[in-house]
Each structure stands twice: as structure tokens, then as C-alpha cells.
Amino acid sequence: MSKITIYINGKPYKVEPGQTIMQAADKLGFHIPRLCYHPKLSIEGACRVCIVEVEGMKNYVASCAFPVSDGMKIRTNTLELRQARRDIVELLLDNHPQDCHVCERNGTCELQRLSYSMGIRNRHFEGQRKDYPADESSEAVIRDPNRCILCGRCVRLCSEIQQIHNLSQAYRGFKTVVMPAYNIPMKDSVCSCCGQCVNVCPTAAFLEKNHTKEVFAALNDPSLVKVVQFAPSVRAAIGEAFGLEPGHNMEGQLVAALRRLGFDYVFDTQSGADLTITEEASEFLERLQGKGKLPMITSCSSAWMKCMEQFHPDLIDNISTCKSPMSMTGAMVKTYFARRLKVSPEKICSVAVMCCTAKKYEAARPELMVDGLRAVDYVVTTREAAWMIKSAGIDFLNIIPEPFDEPLGISSGAGVIFGTTGGVMEAALRSAYELFTGQTLVDIEVQAVRGFEAIKEGKVVMDGQEIRVAVTHGLGNASKLLDMVREDPKRYHFIEIMGCPGGCIGGGGQPYAGVNAIPLDEDALKKRAQVLYDLDRHRTIRRSHENPAVQRLYKEFLQRPLSPISHKYLHTHYKAKEPRGVIPRS
């Protein structure tokens, strides 16, 4: 279609038709203020912060919802408009607690930023405040309606991207509250604990349950051996919490900083990922030989596991029994490593830094206990870890990088790419191919499963047998893929599902979007993924089963993949959970 002319603030611009004023203005370098808008979600038009003046229109229009037309004359910054926008934000502030100095989102809050950019420097009105108890029942996600400004981003994300539909705006007017059905506690709801509501919330109405206090207490207890592990995607994103652009690998800095915090041993969750892959590839080959159901579906994403148990329990037999890399690493810390150290596992405090809020839920699952103890005592998110480092006065950006501790510090390139969508599949195929055929996979980079498409499909031929695989990320996409599986159960042999958009790199515990950035921005996710792919490429060991630490673990402790002792410590089982979730027919 031919371009049309619009006028912004008196100057003509040629733009594509069929887009909104906001989209057109963004491309021309006019950033219209906004709040309820998110590019990945449906248009709500609720906050009215993005209003502009359009000549011939009686009222200001919401630029997020209004399409451009030929000859349209738009003003984005008149004095009246500035005043109107400021009034809108002031009215939001009137009902807001206004206790920024004690708020978790102080400095990362979009309402705070808007208030500043609107030039709000004094308060004219004292509005009615909300007074609801915060719901702290969940292990992972806390809901605090008092800080909510009803932008509806969380509701839309939970329904549209994740298709969990746990949240809605209940009641009406001033009494509107975002809550699960029947106002039941979050822990009894269908919430998957993915934490994406935390990522998209502009304020602090959703937060992860904070465990930094407990971790600081443990770090100050001289009777404990303090062990920490961190996930691949944490190193790919934590720099952003310190002001770096996305795309920096901060592995060595994080190891050094965690030692400065007081941890005695810093391990790599990637080492556990190599263990997961060795077990999972073996399990897959067993299933391929008729022992167990196909397609096999991965189980390392804890949000996906909770979602599966509540929404897709008919597929439980298809789920790999392998625990996640975090839980495997934790299990090895409390058994193998405790024995090596000759300390009682009760005396080990096992901490995990994760990109994920659902890992907090996973760590508390009773099924994952190891000899009556939690494999991981505390999970802190990337955000919480960054705060701990800042709070302890550690100069993270200038610290000299340090290597991991042994024995769970060595990892292969396959363990690294676990953190991005398609990574588990690629890692599993690298090992499964060799274990099955006895030959080396020449083209080790499985391009078909890389990238950010909703559903990726690939094929590998192993000894003449075609293995069909599928990869998806985001729980909404997972539902679509699983419907395809139900229709044609023989369509795939192996499926990877990650609960969050982009995989773990887009996890619900990753740093908040910075100034002028969008939560869950795909470009930022791609840069984080690239960090992991680069790390993989520079590794000499790129296959999980070749990891010497893993080989030693089997020799000294686990015997062999799928051995009885492996089953005891590295595998688990799932069962259907109430309440059952409903996914509406689209």
C-alpha cells in the first residue's frame, strides 16, 4: 500500500497506513508517554496516558488505539495536552500508597518514572487509598492490590501469552481488584508461578517472594557450609541490573561477587544441566526402544510442570521423569558433595540464583526432597541476587572474574544453552545421537530449534530412524502444541517446553526493564540468548556426557544413567493437581 502523510506537531511525515498513531510516532522518534500499553498484548486503552490531540476531534484520543489516516494532524506536546496527561497521572498517584522509599520497585517503577517525566513535583490532592491485605500465600509470587493501578497488563499477559487465565479484574469502580477466581489465595489458584506478571507490572502490585533476608542470615551463620549455584541465563542478564545493555556475559563477575557475599562454594547449574541431559537422553532412548510413552516432553521448567499438572494431566506419562538442573545440582550438593566434604547434609545451606520465580515453588515441592531435606534451601531471583550484591557494597562491574569451584563447576556447551528456548532439545540431541548411533554428530548446532518462533520443528536421522522434534516457549504456545500432539500422537518423538517467552532467559525473575525499555522485549531476549550461544561455541566440550565432572559423578556415586541411585536422587514423578485449569477455545 502507498504511504500516507500525517502531520506531527506541524511537520509532515510519510508513514505506512494501518498502524496506530503511537506506532507511527515511535518510528519517527516521538515517544508518547504510555502505561497500560504493551506491544505483545491486546490494546486496553485504559490508562489514557498516551493521549494526543488530533485536529477535528472533540476529545483527546488514546494514541495506542487510534489508527493514522491520510492528512491527519496530530499534536503530541501542547501545553493543554501536557497538563491533561499530568492530571491523569496525578489522579493515579492520589490513590497510590506513595511510599516509594520503602517500595521494592523504587528506581525501577514505571509510575515513578512517568510522574517524574510529567513534571509532577508537588501533590495537590489527597485521594482515597486502598486497604487490602497482600496475598503472600504463594512460594513464588506475591500480590499486593494496594500498589495496583489497574493497567491490566498482568491480566492480559496471564490470559493472552501464558493462557493460564488466573487473573481477572473483579468488582468495579474504585473497588476493582486484580485477583484469582473467587479471591482464593494465589497458592490455591491455577497460577503457574512463572512470574511474568511481575515482569510486566509497572509498579509493585506483583513481586517475587523475597528470600534475601533468609540468605543473608544463613551467610552469617558460621556453623553452615554455604553453597550456591546459578543458572545459565542469570549470567546473561544480571549485568542489566547494574546498568549494562543486554548481551553481556557476567559469569566470572557473578562467581567472584557470590564469594565476596560469603558463599564457600560456587557451583554451576550448567553442571547439573549436563547431568539432566545425560539422564534425559538415556531416558529418551529407552522410550524409543518401547519402554515408556512417546513423545517424551521435557520437565525442567517448573512453571510448565505446575501448568502441566493443572491443565494437561492427561500427558503426565509423556513427561520426562528427570528433575530440573537446579534440583539435580541441589541433590548432588546434599549427597555426593556432602560426603566428599565429610559434613552432614543438614549443615549445608544450598542456595540457587535463578532467572525464575517458579523455581522457588519447585524448591519447596515435597516430591523433590533428598533424604528428608530440601535439595535447595533458598532460591533467589536474578533481581534479588543483584540487590544483595549492591546491598553488600560489592563493585560488581569492576570485580575481577573468578572461576567456579569443583566438582560441580565444570560444564559443557550443551549445559550452557539450556537457558534459551531450543537449548535443551539441542543439548539432548547432541548426546542422544552419540549414545544411539555410537557416532559423533558432525553438525553440532541444530539450527532448526534455535530462534524465537512460537513452535519450531526439526528432524534428525539416527541410524536410519527419523526423529521428529518440536520446541515451544511460553505456556500459551505450549497449549497449542499439545493440542497438535493430542490430535496426532505420532507426530513427534521428543518435545521441549519452556514456560516463559524465550525460555529461561525471559524468566519471571530477570532484571526489570530499564528506562526506555519494554519488559520482555524480544531484541533484549535475543541478545541474552546470543550470550549463551557464544559461550557454547567457545567451549571445547560441547556435549553433556563428555563433561568430566559428570563422568566422575557417575564413576564415584551414581554408577550409570538411570541406575537405581540415579532414579532415587535425579528423577521424580508428577500427579494431577486441583484446581483444574480451563483453556478457552480460541
Binding site: 490470559s159 487465565h165 488466573n166 487473573l167 481477572s168 479484574q169 473483579a170 468488582y171 468495579r172 485477583m179 484469582p180 477466581a181 473467587y182 479471591n183 484446581p579 483444574r580 485449569g581 480451563v582 483453556i583 478457552p584 477455545r585
Partner: protein, 163 residues
């Protein structure tokens, strides 16, 4: 023997099944909720769960609709439903004091039900009996020319009658 709940469930399922099958079937949600309230006397959690699984609508969405509209009740109504008129005529004749007297004596706010399930208290706009202002309706009966003392007597009488 079938319990009332079983009968209600069955009738609700029958009602949902006879809805015309056309695009945007979700748009019948409000009609179905009206049916549920007619059957159960209120929109029970049992009914909402049933509607969710039958119509494949998430419970959170149903809950959002039910709580948005004043008409839908999420708790069983009291045996005596008291609607206190706050229309203009009643208001100038002291309806606010009457309402307060009901609140004090029953220990509930408007929109709530007493713990024993006997009384539910509601605010109403003009009941069309302005000549008797201030008035209230209890179930189908109109009580006129109310004052706080009279409110106490009415409640005592109803409590006795309920024994």
C-alpha cells in the same frame, strides 16, 4: 436420592446444552449466570465451577463478571431479605437512620448476610411507596413509617417467627 444440588447442576447443564451453537458462545455467560442464580438462589462457587468446565470459560473470567454486576449474589440470600429504601422521599424522612438501625441490630453492612443466615440487608432505590416513607421491604411485605425503635421490634418479631 438426588440432592437439590444435583438437581440444580443437572438443570444448569441442560440449560447450557440447549444454547444455540454459534460463534461467541461465551456471550451467553450472563444468561447462564442468571439461570444459575434462579436455580441456586445465588451464584454459588459450585455453579461457577460447573459453568467453567461446561462452557470452557476460565473461572477467573466468570468471577470478574459475577462481581462486576450488583445483581449477582455470591452468597445464599438470608431467609428474610430486607431492602431499605434510600429513595429521595424516604431519605428526607430519615431512611439513613433506619438503615443504620438495621446495620447496628443485625451486625452486618448493606450487601451482607447475618451469620445465622436469617437476614440479608440490601439498599434499595424507590420502592414506590413514598406515602409511607421511610419504608423497607422484607421479602414481599412493605413496612412503612419506620424509625429505629420500630426496626428493633420488626427484627424481634421475625426472630421469634423463625424459631
Amino acid at each position: 436420592m438426588q440432592t437439590t444440588t444435583d438437581q440444580n447442576r443437572q438443570q444448569l447443564i441442560e440449560y447450557i446444552n440447549q444454547l444455540p451453537d454459534r460463534p461467541y458462545r461465551d456471550s451467553y455467560l450472563i444468561a447462564v449466570l442468571h439461570k444459575a442464580q434462579e436455580l441456586y438462589g445465588y451464584v454459588s462457587r459450585d455453579a461457577m465451577d460447573l459453568i467453567s468446565s461446561q462452557m470452557q470459560i476460565p473461572t477467573a473470567h466468570i468471577w470478574g463478571v459475577v462481581t462486576f454486576y450488583h445483581y449477582f449474589r455470591t452468597q445464599p440470600p438470608g431467609r428474610y431479605q430486607i431492602s431499605v429504601c434510600l429513595g429521595t422521599a424516604c431519605y428526607v424522612k430519615g431512611a439513613a437512620e433506619v438503615l443504620q438501625a438495621f446495620k447496628d441490630r443485625l451486625g452486618v453492612e448493606a450487601g451482607q448476610i447475618t451469620e445465622d443466615g436469617l437476614f440479608s440487608l440490601l439498599e434499595a432505590r424507590c420502592l414506590g411507596a413514598c406515602g409511607l416513607a421511610p419504608v423497607c421491604m422484607i421479602n414481599d411485605k412493605v413496612y412503612g413509617q419506620l424509625n429505629p425503635d420500630k426496626v428493633g421490634r420488626i427484627i424481634n418479631d421475625l426472630r421469634k417467627a423463625a424459631r
